[in-house]
């Protein structure tokens, strides 16, 4: 228990930061809840990308830097295809493309690099990132595109009686959260209940042992990367409809890295909860902490949400390297 004190301290500081604006009356409760909800929504999206990371890391030990690029690629594909065909067809076709992509990555990149150290694999996915960024923009174009999901974007006022001024809620955000939750639930079921899911977990546990009981590693990896592609597709569509499909999507998706650090690399639950923590923490910090910093240090502007997630992950690494839900790692010579 004594070893846990830095974690508890960090958690306490975060919690205090979370409650302080409300407790000190620095913000009206309605506005506070709006910010909180905004953070949760952003968090759901981070979780979606982080989920892709966690899946691939679990099953193949690859730290997939390219997840962000896959999100961008999928979003671009859907946006451009949807110009020619109905949205559902575009999404199906994009999914097919992502599966082909997963297969190609497994064939051309991962199979030759099997049994290499993690860092070499990380660099390989960096290469894949660059390739996908360039390829995606060559094939699909590099302007800003939009995805129309056909859901109203205008915010709706709710709970006007409870709070003064009510709370602005975006219907699209709500749908996004539901979709993300459904996806997580579906994946959890897939992992726990199906034969393929069990095979995936076996591979995650121990490659060699899994192979020796007759689980085809190569096929499993294609499946994992395809699932990651599916997750990227969902994240890309939701984000694309929110922010517009453009190159910066690939950078936003990088935020999923601190999320998996926080949640623990190997944990699906961790990815979801880490995403929510980061999303809320970031929005809260931007809205409530930023103005204070700007005033005290005379900064040229806020924007601390650009690094808040990373620094939070860094602090977390110092006190608890395995993350919230990760397995503790012991090194032997």
């Amino acid at each position: 228990m004594r070893k846990n004190w830095p974690v508890i301290l960090l958690g306490a500081v975060l919690l205090t930061g979370l409650v302080l604006p409300l407790a000190t009356g620095a913000s009206p409760p309605g506005f506070y809840i709006e910010v909180l909800l905004g953070g949760l929504m952003a968090g759901v999206l981070y979780s979606l990308v982080a989920l892709g990371f966690a899946l691939i890391f679990k099953a193949s030990g690859v730290f997939n830097f390219a997840q962000g690029a896959m999100v961008l690629f999928a979003a671009l594909a859907v946006a451009r295809l949807a110009e020619r065909m109905p949205l559902w067809a575009a999404m199906l076709l994009a999914l097919a493309i992502m599966v082909v992509l997963a297969w190609l990555i497994e064939r051309l990149v991962l199979r030759p690099l099997v049994n290499q150290e993690g860092v070499a694999l990380l660099m390989a996915t960096l290469g894949v990132t660059y390739f996908l960024d360039g390829f995606g923009q060559t094939v699909w174009g590099s302007d800003i595109y939009s995805i129309e999901l056909g859901i109203a974007k205008e915010p709706v006022m709710v709970l006007e009686k409870l709070f003064q001024g009510g709370i602005l809620v975006n219907k699209e955000d709500f749908v996004a959260a539901v979709v993300a939750a459904a996806l997580v639930l579906g994946l959890a079921l897939f992992f726990q209940k199906t034969a393929t899911g069990r095979a995936l977990r076996a591979v995650a546990d121990d490659h060699q042992a899994a192979q020796s009981v007759g689980i085809p590693l190569n096929r499993i990896w294609v499946i994992v990367w395809s699932v990651a592609g599916l997750v990227a597709l969902v994240a890309g569509v939701i984000w694309g409809s929110k922010l517009g499909v453009q190159f910066s999507l690939s950078q936003v998706a990088l935020k999923a890295l601190p999320v998996v650090i926080l949640g623990g690399f190997t944990s699906v639950t961790g990815a979801v909860i880490g995403g929510l923590i980061i999303g809320v923490g970031e929005k809260m910090a931007e809205v409530f902490l930023s103005p204070i910093l700007v005033k005290t240090f005379d900064l040229a502007g806020g924007g601390i949400e650009n690094w808040f997630a990373y620094v939070l992950a860094l602090l977390f690494l110092l006190v608890r390297p395995e993350g919230l839900f990760g397995e503790k790692h012991i090194d032997r010579v």
Partner: protein
């Protein structure tokens, strides 16, 4: 035939330990240095200096710095441009606030400040490694980006956030024409390469390599991980900080807050992957490759009579970089430097391979 060390005996310890043990290598190196210092400044056009040679020299220095950390000590960093930024802004502030300081002193101080920042962000490496460290260094990248864009003191309250440093002057020698810049940079690079070469073959370099190959085993045989890792971070950031200061002062002239972004960090990493990890020569090759490729991509299609748009060229550049990284990792994980070594070995046996 020509490249064979037959008959070159070593009879003292110092001749056994010299950097270039073979006579032909020494001659080649001497000729190269003479060519680089004397012939190149007289013959080359300004365009080549500005777009090719000057970025190449500075990025080589940065790549050597990163290579010391990633290639020799095995600690991955994908945020090293942040330390370039620290060096650049430190040099800018020093030269603004203490104008009488010699530029060489400014460079060294900037490097030291970058080293301090490197140690700070290297601290997590004591508890984590590999992939986790990548994220920690990303934190450095985004935090520094923000710091220099937002804190007005660093940019000397310039309204746009961009800074323009004064011209460089060394003991009355004003360095402003491209050939002068080139000679100055070459001098700096030669000194730093020598330093790095000696660092990596001394005990400290061996500690780094032991750390890289297996940290737990290194610890068991009595290498202090704290010391080894933090010195690697410090030395690496020092190099990169100096390179950053030069990048800002000599190459860019004046720069925006986001001149040292994630893209530059990744490019540095690509340089050492393509050039060769754990090889100083590789840093040269990698930097040359990364600097030359975009220029080639812009020129070659025009020569072939099928011009492509600049937008297309930049996408192609991304694709080619990405594909090359993967290719090198699969086919030749030790990069161009390894190819060079193989070539040399072949040459030694040529024309009688048995």
């Amino acid at each position: 035939m020509l490249y064979r060390e037959n008959g070159q005996f070593k009879s003292t310890y110092s001749s056994d330990q010299q950097m270039l043990p073979i006579l032909q290598d020494r001659v080649l190196m001497g000729a190269l240095l003479v060519a680089a210092f004397v012939a190149v400044p007289l013959l080359i056009s300004d365009y080549v200096f500005l777009s090719l040679l000057i970025p190449f020299l500075i990025l080589t220095l940065a790549a050597i710095g990163l290579n010391l950390l990633v290639g020799y000590c095995g600690q991955i960093s994908i945020g090293h441009a942040a330390f370039m930024a620290v060096g650049a802004y430190a040099a800018y502030n020093l030269s603004q606030r203490i104008p009488q300081l010699n530029f060489l002193v400014v460079l060294v101080l900037a490097g030291l400040i970058a080293a301090a920042a490197g140690i700070l962000f290297g601290l997590p490496s004591l508890r984590i490694k590999g992939l986790y460290l990548a994220v920690a260094t990303l934190a450095a990248q985004f935090f520094m980006d923000w710091l220099f864009a937002r804190v007005k003191w660093f940019t000397n309250y310039s309204p746009s956030g961009s800074v323009s440093p004064p011209a460089i002057e060394l003991f009355g020698w004003v360095i402003d024409s491209p050939p002068e810049k080139y000679v100055f940079l070459l001098g700096v690079l030669v000194v730093f390469t020598l330093l790095a070469k000696n660092l990596v073959r001394a005990h400290i370099g061996r500690e780094w390599m032991a750390m890289r190959d297996m940290d737990v085993a290194a610890e068991v045989i009595g290498i202090r991980p704290v010391y080894a890792k933090l010195t690697a971070f410090a030395v690496s950031s020092f190099y990169v900080g100096v390179a950053g200061a030069l990048w800002g002062f000599v190459h860019l002239g004046s720069w925006e807050p986001l001149a040292f972004n994630l893209n530059l960090s990744l490019n540095l990493l690509f340089m050492i992957i393509i050039g060769g990890m754990g090889s100083l020569l590789g840093s040269y090759f990698g930097a040359a490759f990364i600097v030359a490729l975009p220029i080639l991509l812009n020129q070659v299609p025009a020569w072939l009579g099928m011009p492509i748009s600049t937008e297309m060229a930049s996408h192609l550049e991304f694709m080619i970089f990405g594909a090359l990284i993967v290719l090198f990792l699969i086919v030749e994980p030790h990069g161009l430097a390894r190819l060079w070594a193989i070539g040399k070995e072949k040459l030694r046996l040529w024309p009688f391979p048995h």
